[in-house]
Structure formats: C-alpha cells, structure tokens
C-alpha cells in the first residue's frame, strides 16, 4: 500500500482535522464524533440537514458541509457506517426547532445506525426524519437485499434539500423534494482497479490486468458482472445504457449529467467520458441541462467512474442551480 498516512487508525480524524484547519471560518470539528458542522449551525430558522455514511467517499460528505448544502456530516471509519452514538450526538448538537433531516445512503449498516439514533433522538423530543438514497441501478431491488444502494447520485439529493432548507422550506416540504429528486436519479459505476483501504493495506478485491467490474459499489462491492477492459466508448454505451433504460429516460427529457470519478481516475479521462456520454444523450434526443464532471463520491483510490442522470423539471433545476459554499472549490 502506498498512501500518505501516518497510523491507519487515525486516517479519518487526521483528514477531518486538515479539513477543519483549511476552513477555519466556516466549519467546526468535533473529534469525539467525527463531526464536521457548519460554524453557524444549528439555525433556528432552518431545517438541519445531516449526512452520515462511511468515510472514503470524499468529497462526500464532509467536504460538502456548508451554506446551501449540509449542516453536518458525521462519517464512520473507512467504508463503515458511523456508530449510532455519532449520529445521535450529532443530531442532538445540531437540532433545530424546525426539525432535522437525516440523509442516509441505503446500506444495512447505515440504515440500522440511523434508525437507532433517530429513535434515541425522538425520545429526547427532537423532530427528526430520515430519507434514504438509493440511486444505484446496478443492484436490483429484491426481497433478497435491502434494496438499491446510494451512490454518487446522493449529491443531487443533498444539493436540492440543502437549497430548499437554506430558502426556509419546512421539513415536510424538504422531504417531498428529497424523495422526488431521489426518485428521478439513477447511477451506474465501473471499476478499472480495486481500492486499498488504509487499515487493510492491500487491494480490497482482485481484478485482472484487463478486467473491469461493471456496476461496482462505492465500497468495492461487486457489481453486475466482470468484463474485459474495452474502449471508453463501449463502457459508456454499457453503463449509460443501463442508467437510461432503468428510469427510463426518454426522448425529450431534460437531464443533469454527472460523470463522477472514483478517486484514482484523472479528470482528463472524466472529461473524455463526459464528451462520449453527452453525445450519446444528444443522439437519443435527451437534452443535457446541467453537467457535473469531477469527483463527487469516491471509493478511496479506485480507478473508475460512474455516470448519473437526473430527470430535471423546473423545481429541481432551480434548486440545483442555487448557490452553495462548500470546501470543494478552486479559490
């Protein structure tokens, strides 16, 4: 394993400390609960938006805490849902009289931790609701899983509910918006290489030198199938095709198109993929209203990418276009 780390056990706290040092005016860090929150939160006039989930997906979610997006994130260790207490204490600390919304990517561990924390917080009289994000088309919803996974499409839910909360919407309205965005968001990813969790010290799974994993999960979970490494064009056909046919997106639709890097893939390749995806949508008479190219939800150092489509309407588009101030920036 080749990484910039000291002790693997301190990887997450040291990253969070760096994030807090880099944003002294806007963010506060509470080490006990891996908690990063807006310096000006909670705000009694605003619903509090909290996202937990495991670490290793940066910038999601600690680096999207800020005005117009999250009020707080309390990540667990790498790829591990936060312990119940982190979520409970974060909820207590950030509680607003207008209520709290917990955004949860749909994984067993996260669901359980957030459900337990919600129960505990409610017992304390806090108004707290939960919203599950499950945009990954790679996993079929079936009796035999807990359903689809939440992957890079969570960005759009966070952005939309963040904008609505900032504008003063109440909790019910925010939940309506979040559920709507989630219901029209679809993602599929592909891995070229495995990622290496710091504590493990070696790649999480084996991929042959010309193998790829189609439908990869953001924790390195296997996807739909192993395939041969093919051209970028064929890969986009494959995963964009799966995304399009799932909702389905159809001729005449207006969409947001995201090409998300999984951590080890340079932005040059992401723009190359973007160009291919954009053109394929155009030839399917689908209009790209907004686009997103870069890293939004990663899997540590995994080389790979995911493609997300969101079906836009006026309401969603204006929420996505609303300003936000978060650590991920160039200036």
């Amino acid at each position: 394993m080749k990484k910039f780390i000291n002790d693997p056990k301190n990887f997450v706290p040291e990253m969070l400390k760096g994030l807090a040092l880099a944003n002294p005016d806007t963010l506060k860090y509470v080490p006990e609960y891996n908690l990063i929150h807006r310096a000006d939160a909670p705000n009694a006039d605003k619903v509090t938006i909290i996202q937990g989930s495991g670490s290793g997906h940066e910038p999601a979610h600690v680096m999207t805490v800020g005005k117009g997006m999250l009020d707080a994130a309390c990540p667990g260790d790498i790829f591990a849902a936060p312990p119940v207490d982190y979520v409970y204490e974060t909820t207590k600390l950030l509680a607003s009289p207008k209520g709290v919304l917990l955004l949860v990517n749909n994984y067993t561990g996260d669901r359980m931790a957030f459900e337990m924390a919600q129960e505990m917080a409610r017992a304390d009289g806090i108004r707290v609701e939960m919203l599950f994000i499950d945009d990954d088309v790679a996993v079929e919803d079936s009796l035999y899983t807990i359903g689809r996974r939440g992957v890079a499409g969570n960005f759009f839910v966070m952005k939309a509910v963040g904008a609505a909360a900032e504008a003063g919407a109440d909790l019910d309205e925010i939940i309506r918006i979040g559920e709507k965005v989630n219901s029209v968001t679809r993602t599929m990813g592909v891995a070229l290489t495995a990622c290496t969790p710091p504590a493990k010290g070696s790649p999480l799974f084996d991929l042959g030198p010309d193998e790829i994993e189609i439908g990869i999960g953001i924790h390195g979970e296997p996807g739909r199938r192993r395939g041969k490494l093919v051209s970028a064009d064929e890969i986009v056909d494959d995963i964009l095709g799966a995304v399009i046919t799932d909702l389905p997106f159809t001729s005449g639709d207006r969409v947001a198109l995201m090409v998300n890097g999984l951590g080890g893939t340079p932005i040059s390749e992401l723009y190359l993929l973007y160009g291919l995806a954009h053109e394929k949508l155009v030839s399917a008479s689908i209009t790209v209203g907004r686009n997103y190219v870069g890293e939004y939800c990663t899997s540590l150092d995994m080389a790979g990418a995911s493609i997300t489509l969101v079906k836009l309407d006026e309401e969603i588009e204006s929420l996505l276009a609303a300003p936000a101030e978060i650590p991920i920036r160039v200036f």
């Binding site: 056990k9 495991g54 667990g76 260790d77 790498i78 790829f79 591990a80 849902a81 936060p82 312990p83 119940v84 207490d85 982190y86 994984y107 067993t108 561990g109 359980m112 931790a113 337990m116 790679a138 996993v139 009796l143 035999y144 899983t145 807990i146 996974r149 969790p197 504590a199 493990k200 999480l204 799974f205 999960g217 924790h219 390195g220 979970e221 296997p222």
Partner: protein
Amino acid sequence: MKTRSIIDTEFVVRSIAETAIENEDAFCKLDSVVGDGDFGYSLARGFEKVLDEWDVFDRTDSSIFLKSIAHTITSRIGGTSGPLWGTAFLRASTAVRGRDEVGGADVVAMLRAAIEGIKDRGKSDVGDKTLLDALVPATDALEVAVAQGSSFEKALDEAAKAAREAADATSSLQARRGRASYTGERSIGSPDAGAVAVAVILERLTIQSRDR
C-alpha cells in the same frame, strides 16, 4: 466483592474481546471476499475500547455490566456490526435483568434474546448467510447439552462444534442480507465472516474455560 456471576460474565466478555482483537486480520480477510473487508477492523476497534474502559464498567450485576458493554459497542463500532452486536448485548442484558446468579438456562435465554435482537435489527433470519447461521445452531446445541445436565465446559464445546459446522456450511448459501447480498450468486462459495467469527469465539471460550 464480585459475585460469581459477574466473574463468569467478565470472563466471557473478555474472551470475546480478545478473540476479536487477535483475529482482526483474519476477520477482515473473510469479509473482503464478497464484503468490504472491514469486519475485523470494526470489531477490533470496538472491543479495544471495551478493554480500555474495562475497569470503569458498572458491575452491580451481570445485566447492568452487559448493558454498559452494549453501550460501548453501540457507540464505538461502526458499520453493520455496531448496531447488531450492540443490540445483541443489550438484549442479553435485558434477559437477566435483576438476577443475582446466572446459570446454564439463563445463558441460553440470553442467547435467545440476543438472536431475536439481531433478527429484529437486521431484518434477517437463519439462512440469510449471516452470523445468525452459526449463532442459532450453537444456541440449540448449548440448550440441549444444558438440558441433558452436561457441565458448562462440555455444553460450550458442543456449541462451538455446532457453530463451526454451521459456519462452514454458510459457504453454500447465497447472501440475502448485508453487503454480501449485492453480489448475488457470487456470494456462494465462501463462508460468512460473521458466522465464522461466532465459531472462533466459541472455540476460544471452550478452550479458555477448560484452562480456567
């Protein structure tokens, strides 16, 4: 002075904690076949915390002691295992609430309560390829042995054997809960990490209680 029951409970919890810490890498490896490779890490970090706080847990009785352990596990173990194992310890604690002494039948009751807690929390059952697939047959074996009047060491040994056999048998199951379930049929062919952990813990408890 500590009661006999507290001494026994301490012994069991400490043995579980040590097993988790010593098997960190092995448990991670098991979880990385079709999971995300952190099962051993999560358990080890949580049980390290249990040993760190060992001296400050409330030891009024076994139930209260287990409740404090449950709290530490819940607040320190992330991933799927934190809520599941925390719930299991909490339910076990509830099963002997207010009891001064804890006998073989109580242990069976505690395990049954823990199993129900895991099922509730995990929306899972036997056959889903989880730790339940080792824990349930082990509890069954323990119950039979206790009912037959076997010594506790002997009963533990039966439970450990049942757990190992059942854990090995999870190889042929397709995962229907947890992260491994996303792999569908690919989950067949390797045992479930949580089930193996249950077997390893019971085997170590058997050996250690023999040496006690």
